[in-house]
Symmetry: C2
Subunit: 401 residues, 2 copies
Amino acid sequence: MVNIGIVGYGTIGSGVFEVINTNKESIAKKAGEPICVKRICDLREFPGDPAEKLITHDFNDILNDTEITVVVETMGGTRPAYDFVKSSLLAGKSVATSNKELVAKYGAELIKIAEEKNTNFLFEASVGGGIPIIRPLNQALTADEILEIKGILNGTTNYILTKMQRDGAEYETALHEAQDMGYAERNPEADVEGYDSCRKIAILTSLAYGTQVDYEDIYTEGITKITAKDMYYAKALDATIKLLGESRIVNGKVYARVAPALISSKSPLYSVNDVFNAIFVKGNVLDDVMFYGRGAGKLPTASAVVSDVIDEVKHKDRHITILWSSKKLNLGDINEASGRYFVRVPAEEREAAVKVFPAASEVKVEKVKGEYAFITGEMTEKEYSSRVEGLNVLNMIRVSF
Amino acid sequence: MVNIGIVGYGTIGSGVFEVINTNKESIAKKAGEPICVKRICDLREFPGDPAEKLITHDFNDILNDTEITVVVETMGGTRPAYDFVKSSLLAGKSVATSNKELVAKYGAELIKIAEEKNTNFLFEASVGGGIPIIRPLNQALTADEILEIKGILNGTTNYILTKMQRDGAEYETALHEAQDMGYAERNPEADVEGYDSCRKIAILTSLAYGTQVDYEDIYTEGITKITAKDMYYAKALDATIKLLGESRIVNGKVYARVAPALISSKSPLYSVNDVFNAIFVKGNVLDDVMFYGRGAGKLPTASAVVSDVIDEVKHKDRHITILWSSKKLNLGDINEASGRYFVRVPAEEREAAVKVFPAASEVKVEKVKGEYAFITGEMTEKEYSSRVEGLNVLNMIRVSF
């Protein structure tokens, strides 16, 4: 039997406890032996909870318990999670975490410690919730060189955008509904400004290229400027708007960004709706694959954490190689990245806009008057910026088709 | 350096050779050492081919070469593939195969031999071409009990059905186009009658439940009876028709079948078009996940084979557990499986049909006259069959929403 400790008994942590108990038998079969939660560290008390008696307020009760060989970290944030995880690994325990901030910032370092201590640091749940994506990148897509990753990585923003698309709702209305449904926080900044997606694409890009991508380096734009009008235009283009975390390699340079993008109905990402997430990967021999599922939620995320725990039980005293060195990957300058741009300007600026974008194709929508909207030809962000100087741009959205 | 032998230098086998050479460096990094193709067994000669000098007509040149530790089997069929694979495993070599017939029929036995010899038998490419699905089922979805698998598992039939949907083409026209494009064989039976999908869902179901599902036990219906008219009705229902390989567990019984089904536009499977494949899996805690990609094709399939080879190089002298025993899984009687049915009868039988299906909802399409089409309420296949007795059913398609 393997004893595990859980640090952080919030939504995910209690989900891990529930999954391990619900699927006890099948998990024992797949892990090769039963898995039992011995201790749970949380500052709160949980009277009446089935795990009540396992609670401790002192992390040392887990760290110093030699019977506990696997630690699940589901607190979130970097402090004190980093210290807890690091000391667990240094003590020779394996760690499974759902903590994207921790992984984005300290992934390379923690993997190295795990390697040195011949133990494991796994983090399937840190990106895409229940969707297997970390393990496929590490173990399945190994024959390929990854050319491109495009992900709908945040359920909150995808719910809001889906709502706006389906109901013609404005951003604020859709946000409030998401908050009422419990899909968005009262302070929704981390989601709607793209910070959450940014950490996730940083993790995926680090794994794809085996080096450290600092999330602070990734150009990040949220969805707060998307309007019902933009969605009308998207529909006219047989497209929709999604918040994408993207990275791609062009002439040996890796470019990464988080920004809303127009997605054509022909893309498999188009029909990824509501709180669902999906990650699209292009390999140089595999071509396109996509992984789809619940990007958040108690049990789906817990399922991913538990799959890591099972892997760690199966790999006692054997480090699972993850290629992610602390060597910094210098991203390409986003201003040099090329693309096409959907742009809206007031009708009175049509002439000026046509002058600077002579090759643009107009997009017309019956419901919207008094505007000139168009899609530019392909050009770098820098060129786009210099061309629109002097124009009163109502909104610009990158085109992903 | 690890030396491998390839048995069968057709489309996939030559793809494996190409992938290993194209991505030599990144593969060496991921495997921990370089991988080199030392010998290729094929009865044909390949003058001018880059692999020309590696060709042998005698499998023993691979079997008896102790430097070759991994064998790639890409011949297809069960004989002599079975003998070659079995003797390779017995000789202590690992085997990676793309051969679905072999895996469906002998998977359990070959896994057992690999376990006994402490070596590996992997078969990621046998289902879904380049899509990682075998490895996720084995290693990622381990925290879950699998409730349902629904797959678009055959690219040829999906291309034909997509063509019928988009162009309103009849089956024969779409089939001929698929043949002209090289997506369908001159003798398309294995694809269009669902035999290929049947072997694949047998493999996935065996893995999901850890026991042997004999593909001969799976009810299998192809797409040859689907007409342009059926597609019109599907469109009116905001749905489409896909050939699904399905299995699900109901009250402890596993039901499996291959048949065309109506898929709603809300399902992520709806927009899986052309030669793409996708496998949708429902876990008891994970809920829905879907894996999407190229289900066939030289390089995508070869990419999956090579990912297995890399895993085998990383797991020298260490068996990767795959739960698939030779214990036979007795499938539930398909007649006891419940569902709803889309049914078309001649207009003159409307009254008779309404009499036996009073709760049915009519489906109307402007383009089709002289018919009464409806969707029944939920009932077993047996009950459906007994109710339609005496009716002149023009076509029946199962409803998957």
